[in-house]
């Protein structure tokens, strides 16, 4: 029995020693596995946003590299900017787009229409396919369903569910939304005899909306202009906004339309009686420039993102810059353009690990001796590189 116990003890000691020897053979403790994320830094991201960058990987998504750039150049992120950046990541991580603090108006419309419609209920397909790139775009946004739901309730109160005018209105609105998926949707019904003014005005607006969702911009603009010119129409202000909105949509397909769109947008912004739609029209203006002059806008956003005082706009600017930068092809022309400004230049080098980038990053670092290019040079360096001098002199910061 004693021999058996001795054997067990010896076996356990040997097993332990063997494990220790195995561990010694590794340069670090093998009992601790260290993993990293390729596309984003360690979580929680708030630490990274707050300035604890850790090891900066070239594979990180552009937004993280922009934040790193701000820290490496000494611009940093104040509390307001950090909050904006955290909101940006919140936008990205939620499965439902945006903040989803408002009701689901598409769902709301489906419910109310089901109550009164005689046709089979179904969910409206809100996205349409862009046949040039196989991506789906939101064609009928939540606001369209919100306005339709409120209008339905109002018309119901006015004439009741049994009224042929109400039924005609509902059929018309369903026909409008049947175009949301970009297919050949239903046609609008004819107006019943003796139709009241409200139904005529609504139908004129529905006609514009139908063209709008079908992607027939010129027809939509013509129809909305007529509505905007009717002083009695409750839709006259909204129709003016939709004229301005239909054009930037066209710009996407034909950038030459940009000047015309800008003219229309600036026209709305000059009219003080249209003040209630100035906010969304300013957003259209920005979107128009992003589509029509992407390089120019990218450089403008890059300058903004490289500077302090972004407390109120960093979230949106980061969205737009990342979309533009990630979309830009990496052709020699774009590279040349990127080099006009430090941030896109640095990002291009960080994200393109090849010999040319390595050489370029090293040269820039040798010229400037700042942290950004040191990081880029090290990220691109390979073991066989010769002449990489690492006697870095940190730049003096105030």
């Amino acid at each position: 029995m004693v021999t058996f116990i001795v054997r067990i003890v010896v076996a356990l000691v040997l097993a332990g020693a063997g494990r220790q020897l195995y561990l010694w053979a590794c340069p670090w403790s093998a009992s601790e596995i260290v993993t990293t994320f390729a596309r984003h830094p360690d979580v929680p991201r708030t630490q990274y946003v707050g300035g604890k960058l850790g090891v900066l990987l070239p594979s990180f998504a552009t937004s993280y590299q922009v934040i790193a750039y701000r820290y490496l150049t000494g611009v940093g992120m104040n509390r307001g900017e950090q909050s904006q950046a955290n909101s940006y990541y919140l936008d990205l991580t939620r499965r439902d787009p945006w903040d989803r603090t408002a009701p689901d108006w598409g769902e709301e419309w489906s419910k109310v229409r089901t109550t009164y419609s005689t046709t089979k209920a179904g969910t409206v397909k809100k996205e349409r396919l862009n046949r040039n790139n196989y991506a789906y775009e939101l064609n009928c946004a939540a606001d369209a369903f919100r306005v339709a739901s409120f209008t339905l309730r109002d018309r119901l109160k006015r004439v009741g569910a049994a009224s042929p005018f109400f039924k005609n209105w509902l059929t018309g609105q369903e026909a409008v939304f049947s175009n949301c998926d970009g297919s050949d949707g239903d046609a609008l019904p004819a107006l019943p005899s003796g139709a009241p003014d409200w139904l005529r005005q609504d139908r004129a607006y529905q006609l514009g909306a139908r063209f709008f969702y079908r992607g027939q911009a010129e027809e939509a603009i013509r129809a909305f202009r007529l509505v905007a010119a009717d002083p009695k129409s409750p839709w006259r202000v909204l129709a003016r906004y939709l004229v301005a909105r239909a054009l930037p949509r066209e710009v996407q397909a034909n950038p030459k339309m940009s000047d015309r769109a800008l003219l229309e947008i600036d026209g709305v912004l000059k009219e003080s009686r249209l003040a209630q739609i100035h906010g969304p029209v300013r957003v259209l203006r920005r979107r128009n420039l992003i589509i029509a002059k992407p390089e120019e806008k990218m450089l403008e956003l890059s300058a903004a993102l490289s500077s302090k005082g972004m407390d109120l706009s960093l979230r949106q600017d980061l969205w737009d810059f990342v979309a533009l930068f990630d979309k830009a092809d990496r052709s020699p022309v774009t590279r040349k353009l990127s080099r006009k400004q430090e941030l896109p230049d640095w990002l291009s080098v960080m994200q393109r690990p090849d010999a040319e980038s390595a050489l370029y990053a090293r040269r820039r670092w040798q010229q400037k001796h700042d942290d950004t290019w040191l990081v880029a040079a090290l990220s691109n360096a390979i073991a066989s590189d010769e002449g990489v001098e690492l006697n870095h002199r940190p730049r003096q910061r105030k």
């Binding site: 499965r95 790139n133 196989y134 789906y136």
Partner: protein, 233 residues
């Protein structure tokens, strides 16, 4: 009646003859921007792009459509892929079928791939969906389904009326190493349905390159000429 006509028009649009076969080399284009225009003129390569993800739950089916561009050269075979995620039976079972109809119509190639790591309790739903698609399109649709490598041990799916089973030989989890060793020794799966099309990933070298009719490649990085050239190495 309206639905009947919609289906009839879709059928007429899809194809007037038999479904077109995908080429022997297919690239998966997942949830990131894909620019495959560098493959212009290569009719031997096609793309299977994630067109939509359907999240199913008791509450219903929520669809997230592809939001990033997929640029492919003229003439390249393009197959939309629908990924289905979820573990519970949705109350509206027609929604999945309607989504597939839409993607087939939008894709325009008469092909669809379904990627569904289906839990056992939802297999009847999957079988019903595939059966309905086959009934609707007959042989005018090339219907492809992805298959987890582990399923090939007990191939419950072989009777489903699809044209292609694509066995995914990557991200195989804990059992992956053992399975890869066995495949290496036995030169493939015993089940014929698990030999026809095989899926690999550019960042994994675990699974052996077996003889097969068609290979699919997944890449966590965007496709580039360099990455594509590495497939033949």
């Amino acid at each position: 009646m309206q639905w009947f006509w919609a289906k009839s028009i879709l059928l007429a649009c899809v194809s007037s003859g038999l479904a077109a076969e995908p080429p022997a080399l297919m690239l998966w284009a997942w949830e990131q921007r894909a620019d495959l225009r560098f493959l212009a003129g290569r009719t031997d390569v096609g793309v299977a792009y994630l067109a939509a993800t359907a999240f199913i739950s008791e509450a219903g089916v929520r669809v997230q459509y592809r939001g990033v561009p997929m640029l492919a050269p003229e003439g390249m075979f393009r197959m939309p892929v629908v990924r289905i995620e979820g573990r519970n039976m949705p109350k509206d079972r027609n929604a999945l079928f309607n989504l597939c109809l839409r993607l087939i119509g939008d894709g325009g190639s008469g092909a669809l791939q379904i990627d569904f790591d289906v839990p056992m309790k939802l297999r009847p739903l999957y079988e019903e969906l595939v059966g309905d698609l086959r009934k609707t399109f007959g042989n005018k649709l090339h219907l492809s389904m992805t298959v987890l490598a582990g399923w090939c041990e007990k191939p419950w799916f072989v009777k489903m009326p699809v044209d292609e089973h694509v066995v995914m030989l990557f991200r195989m989890g804990k059992a992956g190493r053992d399975l890869a060793g066995r495949l290496e020794r036995e030169k493939g799966f015993a089940t014929p349905a698990c030999r026809e099309s095989l899926g690999y990933s550019t960042d994994e070298k675990l699974a052996p390159k077996l003889d097969t009719t068609r290979r699919y490649w997944f890449s966590p990085k965007p496709w580039s000429p360099l990455l594509f050239a590495s497939l033949s190495r």
